[in-house]
């Protein structure tokens, strides 16, 4: 069927020999993109590692202000969303449209939950003057915690790293929600099947990477 123009599947573009080659090319492109994403985040992990090795006691003290319950909850939410995305691909491969759509919607809802929890975390910090950069000015008392106690040299750097890393990660979650909206609409229209589900596969790969970044951010920022 490789050279036939009349009876090739609708999704197969002319410059590919087969659906299989098209799928492999798209997926390899996605992995290359994921490596650039890993390198983007690794720059921030380097900043974390350098400041942490220089001022370990400041990082230990400052991380007390982050809420490990909220961070742990968000870890479970993202793991669940990775699970639903993997299930979605399983159903796409089995031509189960209903299973695919349900799992894509669940993934979207988990992503939304993650950002809502993050919103409450950020506002709780902002209320006490914990901002990234020059605006850093911890003050006030809540739940027996005197925030002014945490205004030590280099605490500002810890929270700048926290806000930049979780902020850029959060932006990726937002992008993921946009992608899953797009994929869900296409799935409802019945555009995917076991013959063609490349966009579902690649959005899934992207989403798993967002999950992996958080898997490292959670213990490093909240628990250590």
């Amino acid at each position: 069927m490789a050279n036939s123009h009349s009876n090739h599947p609708a999704h197969l573009q002319h410059h590919f020999v087969s659906s299989e080659q098209q799928f492999d090319a798209a997926k390899m492109g996605m992995w290359l993109f994921l490596v650039t994403e890993i390198l983007l985040f690794s720059g921030m992990f380097v900043a974390y590692v350098v400041y942490r090795t220089w001022h370990p006691e400041v990082f230990l003290l400052s991380s007390e202000l982050l809420n490990p319950f909220m961070g742990g909850l968000n870890t479970l939410v993202l793991l669940a969303s990775s699970f639903t995305v993997a299930l979605g691909i399983h159903y796409a491969q089995k031509d189960n449209k209903k299973g695919l759509v349900i799992n894509l919607v669940l993934t979207f809802l988990f992503a939304l939950t993650f950002l809502v929890v993050k919103y409450f975390e950020y506002t709780a910090k902002f209320e006490h003057g914990i901002f990234p950069g020059a605006a850093f000015d911890p003050h006030g008392v809540s739940h027996g915690v005197d925030y002014a106690m945490y205004n030590v040299p280099y605490a500002k750097q810890f929270f700048s790293i926290y806000f930049v890393m979780t902020g850029i990660h959060g932006f990726h979650v937002l992008v993921g929600m946009g992608l899953f909206t797009w994929i869900t609409i296409r799935a409802v229209k019945g555009e995917f099947s076991s013959e063609y589900y490349t966009p579902v596969e690649n959005c899934g790969l992207y989403w798993h990477l967002v999950d992996i970044i958080w898997i490292f951010l959670f213990p490093l920022l909240y628990l250590m």
């Binding site: 994921l34 490596v35 390198l39 690794s42 490990p68 669940a80 993997a86 030590v152 490292f216």
Partner: protein, 132 residues
Amino acid sequence: MSHAEHHISSIKTLTIVFGGLVFLTVLTVLTAQLDLGAFNVPLALAIATTKAALVVVIFMALKWDNKVNTAIFGIGILFVIVFISFTLFDTLNRGDLTNTTKGTVQDQQIQAEKLQAQEPDASAIQFNRTPQ
């Protein structure tokens, strides 16, 4: 069509991996409560790496995928390791190069002795001490 080649992970496999990831999350929260001294961070990183490996190998299906994708991912990780370790070669050893400022080592020793005379408690001149 060669779609039979695409690996389909069973729901059972995916569920077991999800359960494992939840278990490891609980484990990392619990072990963080223990005071293991210098081992807290390596342990947390080991658990996080195990979780990431489960996601990459099973959820992202690298185990059954075209080997070129494993190579791309592996090279990416290799460069992250180079990035972090070579930066640390610099930043962890900067204290050894304090005499790169203006003035000689002798000048600096005289300066340090003057400071010591003003403030006998050595711990008090550490600029990054934690508050009592």
